[in-house]
């Protein structure tokens, strides 16, 4: 799958507009995405493992909005679904759900890495 399908270019363009249009700023944010999202995922995994649905909801919420900002639509959708289920207390297997999100995050990160290079 190429980055074209994983990443919504329009969302990424909107992010660039919001921060003022400087590609260097966007590169900085992309770097932070690379750095921060695995940590968020770790928090989600820990919360899922211990069954702390509230902590899971909050970190999933963060990943969701990060995903949206960077055009990772599929990632954001998975996160949103999990966030709402956490809120409603209707999560059957949180670990499995987080694992699915991990796969999608991986995909988004690789795609964004390509986008990153395009911008260089």
């Amino acid at each position: 799958m190429t980055s074209e399908f994983v990443i919504d270019r329009a969302a990424l363009q909107r992010l660039l507009d919001v921060i003022g249009g400087d590609p260097e700023d966007l590169a900085e944010l992309l770097e932070e995405f690379e750095d921060a999202t695995p940590k968020t995922l770790q928090k989600m995994e820990a919360a899922a493992g211990s069954g702390d649905l509230d902590a899971l909801r909050i970190s999933t919420h963060s990943l969701k909005s990060n995903g949206r900002d960077f055009g990772a639509t599929a990632l954001a959708q998975l996160c949103e679904a999990l966030e709402y289920d956490c809120r409603d207390g209707t999560v059957d297997d949180p670990v499995k759900r987080v694992a699915a999100i991990a796969v999608e995050l991986d995909r988004a990160r690789s795609a964004l890495a390509i986008v990153s290079k395009e911008h260089e």
Partner: protein, 514 residues
């Protein structure tokens, strides 16, 4: 050229630039928001959680807060609720950042808690600019409104101060308000201007009354004091020695004043400092002045001596000018000179030019006005104000009588009076009362009108001495004396009593509201 353009754009930016606080628990979001808000030209601070946000709000006046709702521990709702509890944060507009999709409820809740507006998480740059701009406009309008109400409140306070009769522009505290060029500023300026006008008018009136009162007091002191030479001459005609007479006169004056003080229940307990004040005063007024007078009258012609004594006014004035104890204006100095001209005029006819040997003694006679001046200055500056006026004068008289007694004893000048009341006894009692009255008046005059104004009583005393001499001893009175008298009054008008420090309070009919 280039520099000025840069400066201009910087100024316009700071005018619209605001200080904005971004609150978000997610680092990536904070980075995004910081860049976005900076791009709009505002200054940004970030807080990672609710507690940090409240700390920042507590220490910095922000114009807008961009607040994330979903945060661990203290969430956005908690921050909103907490902000409403504090006066200094209550009015800072909050824009809640929320993923709109399924969270209409939380947006409603946030707005119910006092949020100004909301922004979806994945917002458009145009939307951010519009929402922040709208909040800023409202905030600035509110700030202006608050400032306006603050000014109205200060005007109201000023009106209340006016109502209590204090028209002094300084106590109204409207200086900065009156500088503002808007309707309220102009109102403050008119308000202040009218109060100032009334205050100046009342101040002038008060000064005129003070001058009039002071002038009457000076004339009274002069008249009473001027009796003394005439009475002394009558007493010495009955065979009394000046020194022995002085002890009786001072003693009677002391008994007279202290009786009144006792009747008023105002006999003081002196501490050491106060005791020493009365001792020094008695030495200056009771011993030194008297000794100098004895010696000077023997060697200097009476009219010349009277003229020399009037120099005390200039001595007090010089002291006031050097120390800043009282205002020393050219007008006051001219007033003193006019008075001196008046006195010289009446004494001119009485000079006996034949006695050429008195020149050296004239220098000695200068001691006399100097001693009077020292007395006036000490009374003006150092008198213990807590001690009753009758007690003060009485104590000084008593001390000087006690100090003179050994001197009279050794010089054989002690005067024995009574027990039968003859003419001399009657005269001595009268002289005691005259001495007490003149000192009481002088003391009061120094306390209310100041030493410089008081020192003009030497002029009045000289003229009065001439008048009494005519009335009591059938001495010849030149018509010049009356002209001189008028000139001295003009001088007093010019000298003016010292200005009072305390603020003038004007009694007005609308003061009584009940």
């Amino acid at each position: 050229m280039n520099d000025s353009t840069v400066n201009l754009s910087e100024t316009t930016e700071t005018v619209s630039s605001a200080r904005i606080l971004v609150v978000d628990d997610d680092r990536l979001n904070r980075m995004k928001m910081r860049k976005a808000v900076q791009h709009l030209g505002h200054r940004v601070d970030v807080a990672e959680n609710g507690v940090e946000a409240l700390e920042a709000l507590n220490s910095t006046p922000y114009d807008v807060v961009l607040l994330d709702i979903i945060m661990p521990e203290m969430d956005g709702f908690d921050v909103l609720a907490e902000m409403k509890k504090h006066d200094e944060m209550r009015d800072v507009p909050v824009i809640v950042i929320s993923a709109l999709d399924d969270e209409t409820e939380s947006v409603v809740k946030a707005i119910e808690l006092g949020a100004e507006d909301f922004l979806p998480k994945s917002f458009d740059p145009v939307l951010l600019r519009a929402r922040v701009g709208a909040s800023l406009t409202k905030k600035r309008f509110r700030d202006q409104e608050k400032e306006y109400f603050g000014r109205i409140e200060r005007l109201t306070v000023a009106a209340e101060i006016l109502e209590s009769g204090r028209f002094n522009p300084e106590s109204l505290d409207l200086e900065d308000l009156a500088q503002k060029n808007d309707p309220l500023g102009r109102l403050a300026a008119v308000f202040r201007g009218m109060a100032a006008e009334i205050y100046q008018r009342e101040l002038k009136l008060k000064r005129a009354i003070q001058t009039l009162q002071g002038t009457f007091l000076v004339l009274a002191v002069g008249l009473v004091w001027g009796l003394t030479p005439a009475l002394s001459r009558m007493a010495s005609g009955l065979g009394s020695q000046p020194l022995g007479l002085a002890i009786w006169v001072n003693g009677i004056a002391a008994v007279f004043c202290l009786s009144i003080a006792a009747y008023r229940g105002k006999i003081p307990r002196l501490n050491f400092k106060e005791f020493m004040f009365f001792v020094y005063w008695a030495i200056i007024a009771g011993i030194l002045q008297r000794m100098t007078t004895f010696v000077a009258t023997e060697h200097v012609e009476a009219a010349m001596l009277s003229l020399v004594v009037t120099l005390q006014g200039f001595m007090v004035f010089a002291f006031a000018a050097i120390t800043g104890m009282e205002r020393a204006s050219p007008r006051r100095l001219i007033g003193l000179i006019v008075g001196l001209v008046g006195v010289s005029l009446v004494l001119y006819t009485r000079f006996d030019g034949t006695n050429g040997a008195q020149n050296a003694w004239l220098l000695f006679a200068l001691l006399l006005p100097l001693l009077f001046a020292v007395e006036a200055i000490v009374l003006a500056g150092k008198r213990p104000e807590n001690i009753d006026i009758f007690a003060s004068v009485g104590l000084m008289m008593a001390f000087s009588a006690i100090m003179l007694t050994p001197w009279a004893y050794f010089s054989g000048d002690l005067l024995s009076l009574g027990p039968q009341v003859g003419r001399l006894e009657f005269l001595v009692v009268l002289m005691g009362i005259v001495a007490a009255s003149s000192l009481l008046l002088a003391f009061h005059l120094i306390a209310t009108a100041g030493a410089v104004f008081y020192s003009q009583s030497a002029y009045a005393m000289t003229i009065a001495g001439v008048v009494w001499g005519m009335l009591l001893l059938s001495e010849e009175l030149s018509f010049l004396a009356w002209g001189a008298f008028a000139i001295i009054v003009v001088g007093m008008y010019l000298v003016e009593p010292k200005a009072n420090d305390e603020e003038l309070v004007i009694k007005r009919s609308f003061n009584d509201r009940n």
